[in-house]
């Protein structure tokens, strides 16, 4: 049995939490005592499953990401229930950053909204592997195929602008369960899979045989010093000639330990402890590659950026800290090439600094040399965060263009 992570996004009241509640309920994953706490004001409020903070229940909105778990005989699922509200888009980015699939809910009566575009932008920014567009509340639109087709066609235009390619559309009623876990008799014109069927069958890309990248986390003391790290991508074998970045030193891998076992070959993703045969010293933040197949290297790159600090805007004169996996470098973001307008999805330029929940393309300059890859070749080594060294807050996420 394997594992799939997915998130739900959509406008406030589009039924995200209700959909999650429905998936948990229909698959027998809500325990009786929890169900009892959900039956406030007569009838069961499935949205109550996920709104865990007092303020969320009082304001009836989701503020931060909640994680829920369920399994079917085929798969274990981790759901991140992320906020739909504009000012909490940054929390949606947190929630969606680890998912394989994003479900975007659209209220059939309202059609595409600013939030639909914004959430699609998040899916595009994070390059989520699969998008399911759930056209919800179909029961309130008489399960009309026309309504469904209109929304689907409008969404495909957005998807084209955002380069989102792997999309499925499903007409649903999260409240009543149509096409959530079982095919609905109310949509005879729809012959595609249910949401659960899609979630059970989707398989994401593997990086097990791509370019080798290993990120060093810490040293392991002993008679000889080992280095704990994660194989982000590719295959590592004993005897491999590797290059360390940013020092550019080369060495031979003499031993690989995975858990308690000494092994001769590992594939990504895998946590290992490695030993090198010549006396080069590694440290946290080093990235290893094969000596003949190195990452890009230098003092800057162009990146897609999402600003996440609710208080401080981007300061073009400030020195921030950049982190790609465990590698750190001081950096500046002297100018923004352009921002992205979420209503038109067009690029635009303005002088105002980048602020929370805005997306942009920018040149990041590092004061220390750093190794990175393009997303198309090694996605695991093409993304990172910006940290404000004064507040220590994570202020932005970026993906190398």
């Amino acid at each position: 049995m394997d594992l799939l992570r997915f998130t739900t996004a959509g406008s406030v009241d589009d039924g995200k939490s209700t959909l999650i509640g429905r998936l948990l309920y229909d698959t027998g994953n809500i325990k009786t005592d929890i169900l009892e706490t959900l039956s406030a004001e007569g009838g069961i409020n499935l949205a109550y499953v996920t709104d865990g903070l007092r303020a969320e229940r009082l304001q009836k909105i989701t503020i931060d990401v909640a994680y829920k778990y369920f399994s079917t005989p085929n798969r274990k699922f981790i759901i991140t229930d992320a906020p739909g509200h504009f000012e909490y888009t940054r929390n949606l980015v947190t929630g969606a950053s680890n998912v394989d699939v994003m479900i975007i809910l659209i209220d059939a009566q309202n059609g595409i909204t600013a939030q639909t575009r914004r959430h699609s932008m998040v899916a595009s920014f994070l390059r989520v592997g699969k998008v399911i567009v759930a056209i919800n509340k179909m029961d309130l639109s008489n399960f009309s195929q026309q309504v469904y087709d209109n929304i689907k066609n409008a969404y495909l235009q957005i998807a084209a602008k955002l380069n989102i390619s792997n999309i499925s559309f499903i007409p649903v009623s999260a409240l009543n369960g149509d096409n959530v876990t079982s095919a609905s008799a109310n949509t005879p014109w729809y012959d595609g899979p249910t949401i659960l069927e899609l979630l059970e069958s989707y398989v994401g890309p593997t990086h097990a045989y791509a370019h080798l990248r290993l990120s060093v986390q810490c040293t392991i003391d002993g008679a000889e010093t080992g280095y704990a790290g994660k194989v982000l991508s590719g295959t590592l074998s004993t005897g491999d000639k590797v290059m360390v970045h940013p020092s550019r030193k080369e060495g031979l891998v003499s031993k690989i330990i995975h858990n308690y076992d000494t092994v001769t070959e590992v594939h990504a993703p895998c946590n290992v402890c490695i030993y090198l045969d010549n006396n080069i010293t590694l440290q946290r933040g080093d990235t290893l590659s094969h000596a003949h197949d190195t990452p890009l290297y230098g003092n800057g790159f162009e990146a897609a950026l999402c600003w996440m600090d609710a208080k401080e805007k981007l300061d073009s004169a400030k020195t921030y800290l950049l982190r790609i996996n465990t590698a750190e470098a001081r950096c500046t973001i002297p100018s923004i090439a352009h921002k992205i307008d979420i209503d038109t999805l067009e690029n635009y330029t303005e002088n105002a600094p980048l602020e929370a929940n805005q997306f942009a393309t920018a040149q990041i300059r590092t004061l220390d040399e750093i190794a990175w890859d393009h997303f198309s070749s090694v996605p695991e080594n093409a993304r990172g965060v910006i940290i404000d060294p004064d507040t220590n807050n994570t202020v932005a996420a970026f993906i190398v263009r």
């Binding site: 594992l3 903070l53 007092r54 931060d64 940054r90 003391d221 946590n271």
Partner: protein, 297 residues
């Protein structure tokens, strides 16, 4: 990849991030199944080195004797450094009222003892076995959960946590609570215990016990919990689904004597873990959130 391998890899990665980013981490250990699994994962994460930080037990004084015996045996076996800090000492030093009543829970007082120990040893990261499936407030918490100098969680202003980039940067006096098994469910923990053949305290398995029936829950009679003449008392075969304090943890009626039996029982159970076993979360919808605001794990 099997989902248990994925969860294990995530936890090992988190342990190594803690070791790589902090100067003085500590692993919080209660003697229960979750923190026992944590120890097992830490051993894997740092093999062939021993666990490079101490293990700390915040001792309420209301422990199950079986859990204490298990703790001492395990610590000896893995050759770790154990720190014990006692809630009774905090009560005495800070002149706090010791909870009275029939089920005198020192659960909330643990926060003071924990904060005292964090200051005493200058711990900058505390690793705990909290799981998001346990409770609604926990479901909202980051894997690296930033706490200010008074230990308070700020649920409305949590740091973004993107991909597996964990930001552990803090100022002096602040600390981070790290939860390597955040994404494990109760059943995942048991399946992992089964797969890895991890030993547990005996009270997780079916045994005979005399209990008071309180709110339809079974609370063991012990030196901390005494029955009075109005109590309904039963002696039956029970086991514990969680190991907390004897004063606030309920037993469940069960004949599950092996890990296999327990997994079968859990798969058929209609009641959540905390719902079945805790008598301190019944107070309000936000009981856990409130404790966390005061520095609770």
């Amino acid at each position: 990849m099997d989902y248990l391998d994925i969860l294990e890899a995530e936890a090992v990665y988190i342990f190594r991030e803690v070791a790589g980013q902090f100067k003085r981490p500590v692993l919080l250990f209660s003697g229960g199944k979750d923190s026992t699994v944590l120890i097992h994962l830490a051993l894997k994460a740092f093999y062939p080195s021993p666990i490079p930080f101490p293990v700390m037990h915040i001792d309420t004084g209301h422990n199950f004797p079986e859990a204490l015996a298990f703790r001492d045996e395990l610590i000896k076996k893995i050759n770790a450094k154990l720190i014990v800090r006692k809630v009774v000492d905090t009560i005495r030093e800070k002149n706090l009222p010791d909870p009275q009543g029939k089920f005198p829970s020192r659960n909330a007082l643990q926060s003071y003892t924990l904060m005292g120990a964090i200051q005493e040893f200058e711990f900058d990261a505390c690793i705990g076995g909290g799981r998001r499936d346990e409770e609604k407030a926990r479901a909202k918490e980051r894997i690296f959960s930033f706490r200010n100098a008074s230990g308070a969680w700020q649920p409305h202003n949590q740091r973004p946590e993107i991909w597996d980039v964990y930001n552990g940067r803090i100022h002096q006096g602040e600390n981070v609570r790290a939860f390597p098994i955040s994404n494990w469910t109760e059943l995942d923990v048991w399946k992992y215990i089964q797969r890895e053949k991890i030993e547990l305290p005996s009270i997780y398995f079916a045994h005979q016990r005399s209990c008071i029936v309180f709110n339809k829950r079974l609370v063991a009679i012990s030196q901390y919990v005494n029955p009075d003449e109005n109590d309904e008392i039963v002696t039956t075969t029970v086991r514990y689904r969680t190991v907390g304090d004897m004063t606030c943890t309920a037993a469940i009626e069960s004949t599950a004597g092996t890990i296999e039996d327990i997994i079968t029982e859990l798969e058929a159970s209609l009641i959540s873990e905390r719902g079945a076993t805790r008598i301190d979360d019944q107070v309000s919808d936000a009981a856990m959130e409130d404790r966390k605001l005061k520095g609770y794990f």
